[in-house]
Symmetry: C2
Subunit: 458 residues, 2 copies
């Protein structure tokens, strides 16, 4: 059986997401990130290419590890300036019908009560197409700006995040019964108060006595993405995530990561395939291998090394400005993105490799004709057991237009890519079993009939 | 000289904003509040009617003062369920070009650092058409759900709000110089780091050392709305607001309020007309007086008294369920909306009057043909010195369609309403003196050349 390829596009509300300097390429519209039309055009393009979704990364802070200041990041437009991803969703929802819209938001920067409403609102406005990438935040600069002297230590971040999820599940799944909203013109009853329940949450970090203020949205809980791949992060993902995105430079490393994710999901009482794994990936394609290689070389000529090192210093959590490009990469354990540090702690990497990798962080890059790229993608997914790609861009939206116009038809010919969207919510499109989280997900434990046996059945 | 009439439409992301029960009217689309098309259709309608803007109210909590529980509010769909207003903006911006989009957000529920970015993002995406209605929140239920045992006392709310504004002004006005973003393809410099400044804010309530993470947006600071009309609230508005909305049932009361606002603005070193006053107002119109009156009577027949009392109990801050409709209204001083309490503390009101007022809270209602309504509006603004209307609806979008189709042409014939939009940002459209706050506004004190005399001039 041909393995279907799932694809998310990966972007960020900023001039430079992944590859410093390429905003200067004539085809790049990345510098138009603050214009609504950049996003509505991108959403239409992705829906034309039948992408599963657009996944918008975010940080709320600056990359100031490199040389101890944000100057290099500012110069390169490297994830700074960076605007709010949630504000983009409704316009993109308006111009599309099927595309999933996944946004990143941190459990550290906003109280779960207003956040629950934000996401319910988006799930309503998108007709159930919203996803949430749960992050616990890794930039110290962000923490300092909300008044914390130091970033909460890594493990405690996950303790907070777990309670944060409990509060959200109670609000999303356990406050309003499915038939609470009656909208009955005859009786005049909009909502039956007997079917709306205060959550009475009293925890270590949060205290939320009241009801959710939004009525149930199509998915109730948005589709849950996660990317944490530290030990605590993997465990958190195994418990909560429905989709994870991972980055790994070789199939062997990724295969081990995927197997670990599936095993952990099982240990949490879930099916190993209840989590879709999206592998960080980059494609540069053209009509022929030669054309693609020429495009790659041209793109490479735009790369601006200092900005790349600013990004990598942030991801790895230590200052790369003190090294020469030919120095070996010696990774210092710290509180930054641990999976990245682990990946580069193994193997014979040099600082230069970080600068010269064109594309998605620590993921692979396929350069070639549509057939070459399709071969590479299919082989990669076969070898690693990943479900699809989290497709980074080198030049946006050109990288996605090339994929939609060249690679998608090739994959379709091979029977490895959808020819039309399924109807339904983002969750249903991905799992084909309805709009809501399945009964073996921890959120289900907060549903009204389970958590409140005395409550009337919906 | 004919006085031009400014008009904002007033709505809320909820089934019942102001008049309980009218969602059941066949022309009402209020129950579609959670569908994107309701909002994009409304935005287009308002732009067709050359409205200044759409003003979206909000609460993050429930009206549970009436009978000590939220049941009446839930039954009537009275401001519950209530979705996030900020999530609506980008889609409405996409379908319009000129309409102002003002959203309500509280200084009590989110840290100013992420909030500053949300509003900068919206100002970018709307090309400078965003307004912010600053509220300090008045529902105890909202405070409890973010872990506060009791609502912060009224006066301290304004102390916090004042520092909150300082942080925002520093981020919006004082962090990035106008020419910080160079976007220079030749040099590869996106932003000149020397022109981006950390705000180093250390106050009593907030500590924000870093830079703003958004580049300067068209207005920098969004157009500032305020509605507080307690003594502290009026003082806050006099210092900060560019537009206020006020509600008063008689011209005499409103005239005194407007004069007070203008005098206080002057005391703060501002021009008395630096604050545009929008008066809460309701219009029911038809081709003839008779037709309008019939529409009024029909609308009135849909009003659901219990929901009205739930709203008024929340606004006044005490439980009206213990009174008969014919009891005199005895207002108890408390921490709720003080202006409303003051208004109804004077005069010979009965509880029934609260239920039978059809329309915008404590504002007047004009019922009649376009000529009758235009007469009433012009007289009202002449007598009170208000600048325009904050137009509530009885049935939405019908109330706004009627205004756009019938009253606007009548006002235009009288030379009292624009025939086309001015170009430019919301602030420029309103004041005709550029996109940014004027030099006599407190935000100007945080601009880089003023607050940092050593910094290079932009």
């Amino acid at each position: 059986m041909t393995r279907p390829v799932l694809v998310n596009a990966f972007d960020m509300n900023t001039p430079t997401h992944l590859v410093s300097g390429t905003w200067r390429h004539p085809d790049s519209h990345a510098w138009r990130y603050k214009d609504l039309a950049y996003w509505t055009d991108l959403a239409r393009l992705l829906e034309r290419g039948l992408f599963d979704g657009l996944f918008i990364a975010d940080v709320l802070g600056v990359y100031d590890v490199y040389a101890g200041n944000p100057d290099a990041a500012l110069r390169g437009g490297v994830q700074i300036p960076v605007n709010d991803p949630l504000m983009l969703v409704s316009a993109m929802a308006f111009v599309t019908e099927h595309l999933g819209l996944a946004v990143t938001a941190s459990t550290s920067f906003e109280h779960p009560f207003p956040f629950a409403r934000r996401m319910s609102t988006l799930d309503h406005l998108t007709n159930g197409r919203v996803g949430w990438n749960i992050v616990t935040s890794y930039l110290d600069s962000g923490a300092r700006n909300i008044g914390l002297d130091t970033q909460v230590r890594h493990d405690e971040r996950y303790e907070i995040a777990n309670e944060y999820m409990d509060v959200l599940y109670k609000l999303w799944e356990g406050s309003w019964q499915d038939d609470a909203v009656q909208r009955d013109r005859g009786s005049g009853i909009f909502t039956d108060p007997a079917k709306v329940h205060a959550i009475n949450h009293e925890g270590r970090y949060f205290k939320v006595p009241g009801i959710h203020v939004s009525e149930p949205s199509p998915q109730r809980t948005p589709l849950l993405f996660q990317a944490g791949t530290s030990d605590r992060g993997k465990d958190f993902a195994a418990a909560h995530a429905e989709a994870v995105f991972v980055g790994a430079p070789t199939a062997a490393i990724l295969r081990a990561q995927v197997a670990d994710i599936r095993a952990r999901a099982q240990a949490h009482g879930r099916d190993p395939h209840d989590i879709k794994v999206f592998s960080g990936y980059t494609v540069i394609t053209g009509e022929t291998d030669r054309e693609a290689q020429a495009k790659h070389d041209l793109y490479r000529s735009y790369v601006e090394p200092e900005g790349m090192l600013a990004l990598w210093s942030g991801w790895l959590g230590f200052d790369l400005s003190v090294y020469d490009l030919d120095d070996p990469l010696r990774v210092v354990p710290n509180q930054a993105i641990q999976s990245t540090a682990e990946t580069f702690g193994r193997g014979d990497w040099k600082v230069r490799d970080l600068v010269e990798r064109l594309g998605f962080g620590d993921g692979p890059i396929a350069v070639g004709s549509p057939a070459t790229v399709a071969d590479a993608i299919q082989e990669w997914l076969e070898e690693t057991d990943a479900d699809g790609l989290n497709l980074g861009h080198v030049v946006t939206p050109a990288s996605y237009a090339d994929f939609a116009d060249l690679v998608v038809p090739e994959l379709q010919r091979r029977g490895a890519y959808r020819k039309a969207y399924e109807p339904g919510t983002l969750r249903h499109k991905l799992f084909r079993r309805g709009d809501r989280l399945p009964g073996n997900h921890p959120a289900a434990g907060f549903r009204i009939p389970l958590s409140r046996p005395d409550a009337p059945q919906p």
